[in-house]
């Protein structure tokens, strides 16, 4: 190809490159690699645990009281062991006194034999950190759009919106899920959330938080795309004595279903591995086992419109 025409061709292509990059993929324009958490509609992510994994070093999340080992529903399904409730180790150094007291009160309910279930057990939102602890049997899905990433919990169609922009709004109203902005960076999706109101539990221990809660999550793939890791950094000077970190891992299947035939799994809760299925918490949230400490599921006394 003669040189002037070649230069023209390259110039046109380079121009088109910049145009396409600018219009749809700000992250790509920065040259960052975009991890693919949803290569097809059937990829859903199941949590490894209902309790955060502590970081290798430094301040970490509230953990289970060792004197009262935690047996999850998931373990029961496969082994038949008596399930127990989460019971916090109150010596957790990250808790301010009032937060420790709130956790202690819940511990007391559990020790007295009451279920002490979290608000999400009654169809209220799980919040941001709680979101990552939810998908044990019902998967979490990512929808990666050009301007936004949406995370969906199939168990209650709980939705988190992460806007791919570099600045929070000037005036962030507080809400159950706050305002999440994100970017792709070095093979991770980095999510920054503020504006969380104070009604959710940080974890299954009832660890409270204030409106100052600030959560930074890094989602990235490991083990050849088979494992999703979330590195969670939590700051809340109103509730915690120091910032702390936590880890959660997700796999693309429910562990129990790989451990034994489904006919032998008690209380099988999961959908077949595949696309998001409809599960509506408000379908029939009432229990026939009344508990003094259960909260009502959300309902509207007057129609919204």
């Amino acid at each position: 190809m003669p040189r002037p025409a070649a230069n023209l061709a390259i110039g046109v292509l380079a121009g088109a490159f910049c145009l396409a990059a600018g219009s749809s993929h700000p992250a790509l324009a920065q040259g960052a690699a975009r991890p693919d958490f949803a290569p097809n509609a059937s990829v859903g992510w199941y949590a490894y645990n209902r309790i955060f994994i502590p970081p290798a070093s430094g301040a970490g999340p509230v953990q289970q009281d060792r004197a009262h080992p935690y047996v999850s529903n998931d373990e029961f399904r496969v082994t038949g062991k008596q399930p127990t409730s989460q019971l916090a180790d109150l010596s957790a150094p990250i808790l301010q006194p009032w937060a420790r007291e709130a956790v202690r009160k819940r511990n007391e309910l559990v020790l007295s034999g009451k279920p002490a279930n979290p608000p999400y057990a009654s169809c209220w939102p799980a919040g941001v950190t709680g979101f990552l602890l939810r998908p044990m049997t019902q998967a979490m899905y990512f929808i990666q759009g050009p301007q936004e990433v949406v995370m969906i919990l199939s168990s209650k169609q709980e939705v988190r919106h992460i806007h791919l922009t570099d600045k929070h709004s000037a005036n962030v109203k507080t809400s159950w899920f706050g305002e999440s902005i994100g970017r792709y960076e070095g093979g991770s999706l980095v999510v920054d959330t503020i504006g969380l109101d104070d009604r959710t539990w940080v974890d299954g221990f009832g660890t409270p938080h204030t409106k100052q809660l600030h959560v930074i999550e890094r989602f990235h793939l490991m083990e050849n795309g088979q494992v999703l890791e979330a590195n969670v950094h939590v700051e809340d000077p109103g509730a915690f004595t120091m910032p702390w970190d936590a880890i959660q891992h997700f796999r693309q299947y429910e562990a129990a279903v790989r451990a034994m035939p489904i006919e032998r799994i008690a209380q099988l809760a999961s959908a077949p591995e595949g696309p998001l299925q409809e599960m509506v918490c408000a379908d029939n949230p009432r229990s026939f086992f009344p508990s003094a400490d259960a909260v009502l599921a959300p309902e509207a006394n007057t129609p919204d419109f």
Partner: protein, 135 residues
């Protein structure tokens, strides 16, 4: 009409404001014991987050009492071969449950024997085996 999942017209059911407990720990059930409950199906609720078998059971005084047996949601049940029509009101059944630890009339589903003798549920599964019993 193909389906009548609740035994009443779906929209006409008025949900009473009972404290709810949709996703909860199974710690309220006694995993170490298996209780057999015989009675008549009053209602089979094929719903999320839990399906329920409501049964009318004679107590020791011969009076009928309602028992509530909690199951998983429809998607998991369907994987194990259940349909909304597997149980119908009026069916005489024998259920095996992990009973409520607090003595409430109810428990967690383990197995059920239908009027025609079909047994659904695996009483030899680990979650049943530790209970040390069966129907």
């Amino acid at each position: 009409m193909k389906l009548n999942t609740l035994g009443v017209a779906g929209i006409a059911v008025v949900m009473s404001a009972v404290p709810a407990f949709a996703h909860h720990s199974f710690s309220m059930f006694d995993a170490a014991s298996a209780k057999t409950v015989e009675g008549v199906v009053k209602e089979f609720q094929w719903t999320n987050p839990h399906s329920w078998i409501l049964m009318m059971v004679s107590n020791s005084q011969g009076q009928l009492e309602q028992w509530a047996i909690e199951m998983g949601g429809p998607i998991g049940l369907a994987r194990q071969g259940w349909t909304p029509k597997t149980l119908k009101p009026g069916m005489q059944v024998k259920t095996v449950i992990h009973p409520m630890r607090d003595g409430t009339n109810g428990g967690q589903f383990m197995a059920i024997t239908l009027p025609d003798g079909t047994l659904i549920g695996d009483v030899n599964a680990p979650a049943s085996a530790n209970a040390g019993g069966g129907p």
